[in-house]
């Protein structure tokens, strides 16, 4: 292995980080008991919300130290979806968070801005035309990259507005079935990321197939990121995502810290 000298690639990156020419942007929602969890019909198994129980707080339970126990599901808060999460990806090799090649946890991201469309329609579905229009302007999406759907949904701080339920279920944006298939088959993306509670739209159960983003992405060994925030701080192209999930044996996903490296315009 060669030592990183001053003109090596990483040394340049280190200098750029130190001088803030490369900024680190946090794309993670804070883990708090108030952040909503995905809601399934009550007769089904449920994902645990984030919960915190104090062990001691410089008190009779531990005079010199403060710490907590926490509990949550693999799919609580800002989290990573592994291919094993979905039945379509259940038999793929290296399909769980502990066996996914670590090289995949650092990759570039393309950010498609749908915030205007979502303002008018919370059920908005990303289309193939949206992707083509994006590529006309910013260039072709490269294989092995993340595609992030910016909706500004994360700006809905009130959990009621964020979940956006009515009697017919949840109304949040996501990709159309065709757009997912296009990204998987024509662009060989690494995965798909969203700001809402799932990578699929709130009404995704009614698409064909149900939950197309989960079905096609995970079926092709691709990943998912959801409950992202600060996507409005990313450029359409050029950001690098650092998103390693917890190394849970045969884990279907995990809460994680998602960071983006963004290069300032000189």
């Amino acid at each position: 292995m060669t030592q990183a000298t001053n003109n090596s690639l990483l040394a340049t990156v280190a200098q750029a980080l130190a001088s803030r020419r490369i900024r680190v942007v946090d794309l993670t929602q804070t883990l708090t008991p108030d952040f909503p969890q995905i809601a399934l019909p009550p007769e089904m198994g449920q994902c645990w919300p984030f919960r915190l129980e104090e062990v001691s707080n410089y008190d009779e339970r531990g005079p010199g130290w403060y710490w907590n126990n926490f509990s949550c599901g693999e799919h609580t808060g800002t989290h990573f979806d592994a291919p094993i999460h979905w039945i379509s990806g259940r038999n793929l090799p290296n399909n769980a968070v502990d066996t996914i090649p670590v090289q995949d946890f650092v990759a570039s991201a393309f950010v498609i801005d749908c915030s205007e469309q979502v303002k008018a329609d919370p059920d908005y579905l990303l289309t193939v035309e949206d992707i083509e229009r994006f590529e006309e302007k910013h260039g072709r999406i490269t294989a092995g990259s993340w595609v992030l759907m910016r909706t500004d949904w994360s700006k809905r701080n009130d959990p009621v507005a964020y979940q956006n339920f009515d009697e017919t279920g949840q109304h949040t944006p996501g990709p159309s079935s065709e757009a997912v298939q296009f990204l998987v088959e024509q662009r060989q993306v690494l995965g798909f990321g969203s700001e809402a509670i799932g990578t699929d739209a709130g009404q995704g159960y009614h698409l064909r197939p149900p939950y197309p983003c989960h079905y096609f992405m995970h079926g092709a060994g691709k990943y998912g990121l959801q409950c992202l925030t600060n996507l409005d701080l990313l450029p359409p192209t050029g950001a690098i995502l650092i998103c390693p999930p917890l190394k849970i044996q045969k884990g279907s996903g995990s809460p994680l810290r998602v960071l983006a490296l963004v290069e300032e315009q000189a």
Partner: protein
């Protein structure tokens, strides 16, 4: 005539909040039999199985024939008032703080003469009266002389209010407003004259029907409360704990599984997390505040109600993990009762049979209407009882459980 109680003035915040001094609470083992009956709203005395003489005070052997075979039996309480007296002095702190206090001597038609606290509507002797047993603030049975025919506002009698937990003019927390029982409770409490009803509202993004109906009442406020979240409980206690007079914990998770019918422990954990740990979190955060205000004026903190289940007594295997969580809650509730007793806060356990809700959809009738559960809880508060078994199913199970718990276990294993 009892004058209707008027809404008390706001308390003067520069005065020290009065603390509770309990009435005399020591009782022998035998005398606790009267407390056990009063806890369920009955007046019972021992009756000799050999000579039928009715005994008072409670004793080990018949005062007439010395037989040790004494059985507790329900009494009508009818009798003749012989004499009355009004205390203007007492060395007992509880009575000293509540003088003047009127008492009477009554000859029961069943035989014994008894010393009672007198309801204000009972006139001078001689008069026909009816004796009833109530739990006092120490949680022990005392006898009360009631008028033969009471008037409309007789529950507002100053002495009687010391024995009951009437929600009138009180501030109540109902921990879950999303269930049918929770919503029926809110309506019933408003009707009973509650001053404020705070209603717990977990996971507000799940919009359950009926919430708009309860918030139409000006007394009702939805508050964020999720019993699975310690922080949520402690934040609400910090906000309103010092004002709540009655806590009604109706939050529950109910799924119908035994051991084999559902893989894993997530459902059982969810049941325990609300039904048992939820009660624990709530009691740790609200218990102390209630105790500190148990003598705070005419509408002091007074009671804590737990919605349990008749399955808490004996496991109903078809709803096996739910039964276990309610048994755990019952046990914890007994601990809570012991810890609240020094302050005179009454802990009321409610043991309904199957309630007519979505989780009992497959149960054949009879099922308890949510409004019937709500009425039973409000009635328990007004009557000052401690254990309530509303509805026919609960009553029948209770009888079978008392008769022989082992036989009931076998019957439940066979499906009921």
């Amino acid at each position: 005539m009892t004058m209707p109680m008027m809404k008390p003035k706001r308390k003067n915040p520069i005065l020290r909040t009065r603390q509770m001094n309990l009435p005399p609470w020591a009782r022998g083992r035998v005398a606790l039999g009267m407390t056990a009956a009063a806890a369920e709203g009955r007046f019972e005395l021992q009756v000799c199985e050999d000579c039928n003489h009715v005994q008072y005070p409670p004793r080990e052997a018949c005062h007439h024939c010395l037989s040790p075979s004494l059985q507790w039996r329900a009494q009508s309480g009818e009798g003749q008032l012989l004499a009355t007296t009004t205390l203007h002095h007492s060395n007992d702190l509880f009575f000293r703080e509540r003088l003047p206090w009127r008492m009477g001597l009554i000859q029961l038609d069943a035989g014994p003469s008894v010393l009672v606290h007198l309801h204000g509507e009972v006139g001078d002797a001689p008069a026909r009266v009816k004796v009833g047993a109530r739990l006092d603030r120490a949680g022990q049975a005392v006898l009360i002389g009631f008028p033969e025919h009471g008037s409309e506002h007789m529950a507002d009698d100053r002495m009687l209010r010391e024995m009951t937990s009437d929600p009138k003019f009180r501030k109540v927390l109902v921990t879950d407003g999303k269930t049918a029982v929770g919503q029926a409770l809110v309506h019933a409490l408003v009707k009973a004259g509650a001053d404020i009803v705070w209603v717990g509202h977990a996971e507000p993004w799940k919009k359950m029907p009926g919430l708009d109906d309860i918030t139409k009442h000006p007394q009702v406020t939805l508050v964020p409360l999720d019993l699975t979240n310690g922080r949520s409980v402690s934040e609400l206690a910090g906000e309103i704990g010092g004002k709540v007079d009655i806590v009604i914990n109706n939050a529950e998770v109910h799924r119908s599984f035994g051991i084999a019918a559902r893989r894993g422990t997530d459902v059982a954990k969810a049941e325990m997390d609300i039904n048992y740990f939820g009660l624990l979190r709530l009691a740790q955060e609200f218990g102390g505040a209630l105790k500190g205000r148990s003598a705070d004026g005419a509408t002091h903190a007074v009671a804590w109600v737990n919605l349990l289940s008749i399955y808490a007594l004996s496991n109903f295997p078809a709803h096996g993990t739910f039964s276990a969580s309610k048994a755990a809650a019952l046990s914890l509730s007994q601990c809570l009762r012991a810890e609240m007793r020094p302050a005179g806060i009454r802990v009321i356990n409610v043991f309904p049979g199957p309630i007519d809700d979505e989780w009992n959809q497959n149960m054949p009738p009879p099922k308890l209407a949510p409004s019937a559960v709500a009425s039973a809880i409000v009635k328990a508060l007004k009557d000052g009882v401690e254990d309530v078994y509303p509805g026919d199913v609960a009553q029948e199970w209770l009888e079978r459980w008392r008769d022989n718990p082992k036989v009931l276990e076998r019957e439940l294993a066979a499906g009921g």
